[in-house]
Assembly symmetry: C2
Homo-oligomer: 368 residues x 2
């Protein structure tokens, strides 16, 4: 076992030591691991990467666009990207064709595996997503047994700064991640706690609890209504009742949100759907005609829905968002039926910067 540790430390040294010798300009990414000086981010938001791989034939960085890395005489590979947009971006290091997480950076569960993330600074003065000197809440990991899944599962729960010392009850936002992610997504990639701490400190959002579930389940409605909501309302000081519950989700979580709120409109007064919309064509095990029953229900109970949802709020990452067409087609049907909603668009595509922005804009609308 001595061999193990020595071998592991040598491996790390081999991988990361390169960074100590020749560091290019810019600042270390806030997501670089402690021992690494890379990735680095320049003043104009280009990211530079470095890895020591003397025996590799080809090394790339995949940020959606692939960047070929260039080898120097020491077997160190580097590349610098074009300027990147602010916020969090997934990326892969691709070694001889195999996409893996970059050992120089923190990893995140996204794209159905542990992948790397890079954080590009927001413009100066935009402190909405920055850790600030304000009272801070907590992110709590809580295990619960789901009879629906017949398994122990985890939820992550944001409690606002005032929760620990108070004895009052709070409203709850249930907030769902996207496909290939899990219950960690909103707190780790999404910075839920920082966003809410800032909004609450500015008086822009009321203190609330945010419950982030694992949406990887065959029957989300059953998990939500039979397992999670009863557990949350039994475990935490939460206000029960429709007007104290909100449900939102991004991408896959947006579809789960739509399905849940239309089948159980009595449960939530506030609905948020980020970068999502029912599939126009059958896909992902959900036939397009399945959604027709939802449109029928919306049509038959139009007034109740319009009255019952205090917010029916949609956001989209611009035309470049892969969910754009589905969302537009759905909202067109809502228009035809006469369902009221709010629509917000911001450039950025199907990415976490858009979803952080969505939460920042959605949370202040809740429980007022």
């Amino acid at each position: 076992m001595k061999t193990l540790l020595v071998s592991l430390l040598l491996a790390v040294a081999m991988t990361l030591s390169a960074q100590d010798r020749s560091v290019s300009g810019g600042e270390r990414s806030v997501l670089s691991v402690r021992a690494s000086q890379y990735p680095r981010i320049s003043a104009d938001h280009r990211a530079s990467f470095k890895v020591k791989a003397p025996h590799a034939k080809s090394v790339q960085i995949d940020l959606g666009k692939k960047y070929d890395m260039v080898r120097d005489e020491n077997g160190e590979w580097t590349c610098t990207t074009e300027p990147l947009g602010p916020g969090f971006h997934y990326y892969f290091l691709v070694i001889d064709g195999v996409p893996v997480a970059d050992p120089a950076s923190e990893s995140f569960y996204g794209c159905s595996m542990m992948t790397s993330g890079i954080e590009i600074p927001y413009p100066e003065g935009d402190t909405r997503f920055s850790l600030a000197d304000v009272p801070h809440g907590e992110i709590r990991m809580k295990r619960y047994f789901s009879k629906t899944a017949n398994a122990w599962r985890r939820m992550f729960v944001y409690t606002p700064p005032c929760y620990e010392k108070s004895s009052v009850s709070y409203p709850v936002l249930y907030l769902q991640h996207g496909g290939g992610e899990d219950e960690r997504g909103w707190s780790q990639q999404g910075l839920t706690d920082i966003i809410l701490d800032n909004l609450i400190a500015r008086g822009e959002a009321v203190p609330m609890i945010i419950v982030m579930l694992d949406g990887n389940t065959k029957d989300f409605n059953s998990e939500l209504f039979n397992a999670c909501i009863p557990f949350v309302e039994k475990t935490y000081r939460v206000k029960a009742g429709k007007d104290s519950r909100a449900l939102a989700g991004l991408s896959m979580g947006g579809i789960q949100t739509l399905n849940a709120c239309i089948t159980h409109p009595e449960c939530f007064s506030y609905i948020g759907v980020f970068s999502s919309g029912w599939w126009v064509q059958s896909r992902h095990g959900m036939p397009a005609h399945e959604t027709e029953k939802y449109y029928e229900k919306l049509k038959a109970h139009k007034d109740e829905f319009n009255k019952g949802f205090k917010q029916f709020w949609f956001s989209m990452g611009g035309k470049e968002d892969i969910a754009y067409q589905n969302c537009q087609a759905m909202l067109k049907r809502f228009d035809e039926i006469g369902i009221r909603y709010t629509y917000f668009e911001t450039p950025g595509g199907h990415t976490w910067p858009v979803w952080r922005e969505s939460l920042y804009r959605f949370a202040p609308l809740l429980f007022k």
Copy 2:
């Protein structure tokens, strides 16, 4: 940005799809990511790994011992290890000489980077480290501003199952990770919450709070005494005072524990040192002669130390533990001085299975 998602999903498909076609025997590791059928663990606790890397020249699994993977005609590489000991083990996938995290598995911050972990089942009937149908506490992520570090830092805080609904105060164990790890180590690799939930449910440990700090700091004493303890005692319902405080740590955290408890014996009644001991020879910026002042203090105040520490508890992962010699040399000095302590040894080396076992045995001794 559409390209990004498609590219990422393709990358994952390429890496993980292999697993769907030909799955060997055994069970999926509990730490495999959802989309992957590997790593797999056989009934006799051999681990099998698989990765698709058609363009790589050499692929290995590094578990301390390196295993060469063998390529098939589809470019899929596999290997099977010797039987592994129960519990958590770090490992790397080595692609053409570059050690990275295995995309088929969960990642953990250890060895100063995000590396992979595999969990080998404990013997049947040994449920000490298993998620059980008992009341569960929480692991909370809490941010605090450290004037010592002049930076925002994180701590992870275990609160026992009864904490949320009660209004009483609890004693606190401060519990430190090892070198190359951080504040996540004890909850993620160490399963702190599962260990304590089980002990509390069996009536073997009293309900307590466990605070897991980031020990990567130049002045641990200042961080602990000036920043963390005051923050914890202000923020949570904790009992203050020596008899309600314990301090323990593994490896590097064990040295931090020793230094802190000998410079501030008035602060803690319970001390745990896992797989550690002062360096016999100067190393890691700490000259060996530095420890002489601690021995002098122990000698000068022997009776106060013997009376003041209700537990002065040492554990070691057998002779194969890299800290074995340092620990033995230190305890020999303690014997010469007449300092009383308890020593526990279990095979396993300098590894998490030993540290989980250490916590399981140490926690029941506290606050009684």
